[in-house]
Amino acid sequence: MGNRRTYVPNGVDSVRGFVDTAMEFPRLLALLLIVLEWTLPVLPSPLRPICDLRVLDHFIKEARDAEVAMKACREGCSLSESATVPQTRVDFDVWEKQNSSQQADEVQSGLWLLQQALNLLRTSVTNTALHSHIDTSIRNLLSISGVLRSLNIQEYTPPASAADVEGTWRVSTATELLQVHVNFLRGKVRLLLMDAQACQQDVS
């Protein structure tokens, strides 16, 4: 009805005006574009690699703050059950012998494990002061995953359960969990980001 210049009641043959015929082609084109938009998969734009380690340093500082806050906590800050966490130790000889994909895999699995553990901690801890710290840590882990994605490190497909992951530890206290969290970020994650191929190319 909208484009008709004259109102013609229903059932009567409408006289197609000039505007109607002129608008036909744009309408078809718009419809086509909309359909294509839905059907074609969204191609991700290439991410700019985040090579500045100050981002990670910032996360490390915040994780350290969370650990300190947890150490000072007296009540309402316990883990309801033991959690699986990645091993944080780094033997440089061993580390250098590994190739980058192995290193990436180790880091990715560790991050996933930590995410699960922190989620558990979030539900376990009742002290509201610690909630902000834990939320920040969870957010930072997701950001680190994004950083890894920007460095073209392949996505990690999580296993069915945490027990399937190799090289893990079990922690039973919140303090230990956050300590592992800090050490993991400072160690393996940082070494991986430092050695990232995408950043090496920029430097050279």
Partner: protein, 529 residues
């Protein structure tokens, strides 16, 4: 012989190698000793542990004097997180100062995990410590510290080589200490993850001592400050005049100079008047005196008959002047009988006659109120006679016969309340001298000097009558309050067409203007009594 040479060469080679190695070891040992001694001071816990590299780890403690045990009695146990314990072999070390140290050295370490250390002596735990190895770094000081001049004043460029640690270059922070050679107080600047630093704000032409030390920044890795590097002495470039500043100064001073010159030139008259005020010259009052007669007053007098000349005399300011009356310009023959002058007036007149040039005349005295009345009467009579017998007389008259008295009364502004003054002002002198058809014009000029009460003066300009014979001179007197007074003296009329100016200073006097039946122009000089 042939067998000796290789063996000798070999021996020589071994010796050289040994010495170089020994020097290295010696250097290493010295460094180690330095670190040990530093940690002994800084670290309170036992055992004192530090890592020198990615795989290096050393722990030690000083022997307790009480125990004095041997190295075998001690057991150094370390346990990584979630792992089994391990034992570290100990060795004994003697340091200068007589102390005995027990040292544990590990060639392989695990970082980012907690390490628990326990030291047992004879089965008993004496030391216990839990640490993370990556937080105990104690590095060697930076090597190859070089200090060079930049192109700028007061700046030095410091560069160094960071300790060779992989993965940790960007986690290092440096401290550069610099001090002038003769001063004890030094300054410190921090550089983060870079191997050069520019020192600014240094004194020119001074020798500076520069040292550098390194530490890990504490986010991912941490540790203790390294020892200071060997000091480097460099002299800053000497002070030099910045050409920009010099040129700017010159330009600005030139601009200011030009501006001041312009100001001076534009106001030079004003400034000259202030600095070197012009001496007023009476040139304008004496026409022709300086230009024609070159200042020769006598000549000028001779040529300008009837012109008024002024001579400054000092006046008593307390004196009240009396008014002078100008009755008329009387051209009287000497034949006319003239009544004797009032004594004082005659005295005054004679006095005035006597002196030609400069004598102070106390002309006010004879002209007091009473005298003026007297002289008024006398003058009136004379005037009456004149009008009746207007006889031109060419002789230069004596004062007695040709007395014309000018009574000058002039009001100050607002001071004189005499109402006759305005009337007098309006009376033209033509009325008085109608017979003569002289045109008198009155001009007022201001001599104003000295006291502020002097206002204007009246001057009479008598145009000379062309063709007339020498008329009688008339006496006049003007008195000024400022100390400048005018003498009156008989002057003869001019033949030439000169202008006669009579100047009268106005000085305040409360003497009222005397009104007579004649139309007289009376100008009394008022002055402050």
């Amino acid at each position: 012989m042939t067998c000796d040479h290789p063996s000798r060469l070999l021996a020589l080679y071994v010796i050289i190698c040994a010495t170089t190695r020994a020097s290295y070891i010696g250097q290493g040992a010295r460094d180690f000793e330095k670190k040990v001694s530093m940690l002994l001071e800084q670290e309170p816990e036992n055992p004192k542990c530090f890592a020198q590299g990615r795989k290096d780890f050393t722990c030690f403690w000083a022997d307790d004097e009480e125990r004095a045990g041997s190295v075998d009695q001690y057991a150094f146990m370390y346990t990584y997180q979630n792992e089994n314990s391990s034992r570290c072999p100990l060795r004994e070390l003697r340091v200068p100062g007589g102390k005995r140290l027990f040292v544990c050295h590990l060639n392989q370490t695990q970082m980012f995990v907690q390490m628990d250390i326990q030291i047992n002596w004879e089965g008993r735990l004496i030391h216990n410590r839990s640490l993370l190895i990556e937080l105990t770094f104690l590095l060697d000081p930076p090597a190859n510290v070089t200090v060079s001049r930049t192109g700028h004043q007061g700046q030095l460029n410091v560069t160094w080589v960071p300790p060779p640690l992989k993965y940790m270059d960007d986690s290092m922070m440096y401290e550069v200490s610099y001090a002038a050679e003769d001063s004890q107080v030094g300054q410190v600047q921090v550089a983060w993850a870079s191997s050069m630093l520019i020192l600014r704000g240094l004194l020119p032409g001074t020798k500076y001592k520069v040292r550098v030390r390194v530490k890990l920044d504490g986010i991912s890795y941490s540790g203790y400050w390294s020892a200071w590097s060997d000091p480097v002495f460099v002299e800053t470039p000497p002070a030099e005049l910045d050409p920009l500043i010099v040129s700017l100064t010159v330009i600005i001073s030139l601009i200011l100079l030009v501006l001041s010159l312009m100001m001076l030139l534009s106001h030079r008259r004003f400034l000259m008047n202030k600095i070197w005020p012009a001496i007023p010259i009476p040139d304008s009052k004496f026409q022709g005196l300086f230009t024609v007669y070159d200042g020769n007053f006598q000549e000028w007098l001779g040529h300008t008959n009837g012109s008024l000349w002024l001579r400054p005399t000092y006046f008593y300011s307390e004196e009240c002047p009396s008014p002078l009356e100008v009755l008329s310009e009387l051209h009287l023959c000497t034949s006319l009988p003239s009544p004797p002058l009032p004594p004082k007036a005659s005295r005054a007149l004679s006095l005035g006659r006597k002196d030609d040039t400069k004598t102070g005349l106390e002309a006010r005295e004879p002209l007091e109120r009473g005298d003026s009345t007297q002289s008024d009467n006398w003058l009136m009579d004379r005037l009456r006679a004149l009008h009746q017998h207007p006889i031109p007389c060419s002789q230069s008259s004596l004062l007695e016969s040709q007395d014309t008295y000018i009574t000058l009364s002039k009001n100050n502004h607002g001071e004189d309340k005499h109402s006759n003054d305005p009337l007098e002002e309006t009376l033209p002198l033509e009325v008085l001298f109608t017979s003569r058809k002289t045109v008198l014009s009155e001009s007022h000029s201001d001599l104003g000097s000295g006291s502020g009460h002097l206002s204007s003066q009246s001057s009479f300009e008598y145009p000379n009558h062309a063709g007339t014979s020498k008329g009688p001179g008339y006496t006049y007197m003007a008195v000024a309050d400022s100390g400048v007074s005018m003498d009156y003296s008989p002057m003869s009329r001019l033949d030439d067409i000169g202008r006669v100016a009579i100047y009268a200073h106005d000085y305040k006097n409360e003497i009222p203007v005397h009104r007579g039946p004649f139309l007289q122009r009376q100008h009394s000089l008022h002055g402050d009594c």
